[in-house]
């Protein structure tokens, strides 16, 4: 269609100058409201909604103490996912990029997390009455990085052969871990008492609504199928990969509208890219813009013309128009 034809067509469809029939707008809106309200009530009474209790440091350390210690050790020696994440938590990496564009790096470290200090040393320092723990902390902080690394590596390796006791504590085979054994035992006890949840939520003010630090530790996974990930896997929230983002816990429907967003993660080049998140979110941004601009996109805007579903929608109108205006010259197909 040429631009002149398009302009003529635009004028042609501006106003309807044909027949009207009576219509009660407010009544229709009221009926629609009542119908949808009834449907909402029906679905609620029939199916309710999920409310799975959150993971806490306390529940995690009781349910999977060895897994908890494994993550805690990685936070201590800076080998955890959070420690190596990069912006906005630290500068350990550059974040994802697309060509020369590094959005996370450019926006910087907005929510600084030092996993050693924030997840281990800081909470243990709060146990001021426990001289053994404070002495162990002193030993740790006065050791060289090489010595610290040797201790945590040995401890992490030994954890693989650890046994969980009936009281929830963990017994690690004897080895030279320096103060790390004492520190980890104390952190585990602190977590199991509920004190670590509180410790990780504190900030420099009384009221805090920011759960970043505690959630970052909860979601750290040493690649061994951590407690948080295992629970999500059981609820089909992961998918392989990423289909889980459409899902709700239990057998409830989830966020079906995310289907296209998650679909891209399944196929190349996204499925094998370390920058998949940035690539997918950029692509979806472009497609969202395209959706908004459909009236201006050649081809896309003409598909309804080529695939005439409209003939079904307006069949009553076409039928009655043909009845009253047989010489109108309208095509029947």
């Amino acid at each position: 269609m040429s631009r002149a034809e398009r302009k003529r067509e635009d004028q042609r469809y501006r106003k309807w100058t044909g027949a009207y029939r009576p219509y009660d707008l407010i009544k229709e809106a009221t009926i629609a409201f009542a119908v949808v309200l009834a449907m909402t009530f029906a679905l609620t009474i029939l199916l309710s909604s999920p409310d799975d209790p959150p993971v806490t440091m306390r529940s995690w350390s009781h349910a999977a103490p060895a897994d908890f210690l494994s993550v805690a050790a990685s936070e201590l020696d800076g080998s955890s996912g959070t420690a190596g994440y990069g912006p906005p938590y630290n500068s350990a990496a550059d974040g994802q990029h697309m060509l020369f564009i590094y959005p996370a790096k450019w926006l910087g470290v907005a929510h600084p997390i030092d996993t050693t200090r924030d997840f281990v040393i800081g909470p243990l320092r709060l146990l001021s009455g426990e001289s053994g723990v404070q002495s162990a902390l002193g030993t740790w902080e006065s050791a060289s990085p090489v010595q610290q690394s040797a201790w945590t590596t040995a401890y992490t390796n030994a954890l693989a052969k650890a046994t969980t006791n009936a009281d929830g504590s963990v017994t690690v085979p004897a080895g030279s871990y320096g103060p790390v054994g004492t520190m980890m035992d104390a952190l585990l006890a602190q977590a199991q008492s509920g004190g670590l949840d509180g410790a990780l939520l504190t900030s420099n003010q009384f009221y805090n609504t920011d759960y970043t630090k505690i959630l970052m530790m909860i979601q750290d996974d040493n690649g061994a199928g951590g407690y948080f990930n295992t629970r999500a896997q059981a609820e089909h929230l992961i998918g392989s990969p990423q289909w889980g983002m459409m899902n709700e816990t239990g057998s409830f429907p989830g966020q079906v509208w995310l289907w296209l967003y998650t679909f891209w993660y399944q196929i190349n080049p996204f499925s094998s890219s370390t920058n998949a998140d940035l690539l997918v979110i950029t692509l979806m941004g472009v497609l969202s813009l395209a959706l908004i601009l459909v009236p201006f996109l050649p081809g896309i805007r003409s598909i309804p013309r080529w695939i005439p579903i409209y003939k079904l929608i307006w069949r009553d109108h076409y039928r009655s128009t043909r009845r009253t205006q047989p010489e109108a010259g309208v095509s029947s197909s």
């Binding site: 199916l47 999920p50 459409m246 816990t249 429907p253 289907w259």
Partner: protein, 59 residues
């Protein structure tokens, strides 16, 4: 624990996941999508009630 008004159907059970090609979708989500397509088709195909006032109009 929450005193829940128990639902008639309990959906707090592990989801059934359907796999085909690269797609993995829960049964609930698949039902929602199928229902949307069915409702759309019905909306277009089902006859719409006409009013008496329309008799004699040009449309």
């Amino acid at each position: 624990m929450v005193r829940d008004m128990a639902a008639i159907l309990n959906l707090n059970t592990p989801a059934h996941v359907i796999h085909f090609w690269v797609i993995q979708i829960t049964l609930a989500n698949l039902l929602v999508i199928i229902l949307m397509i069915v409702v759309f088709a019905l909306a277009i195909l089902l006859p719409f009630p006409r009013h008496d006032h329309d008799q004699g109009s040009s449309s």
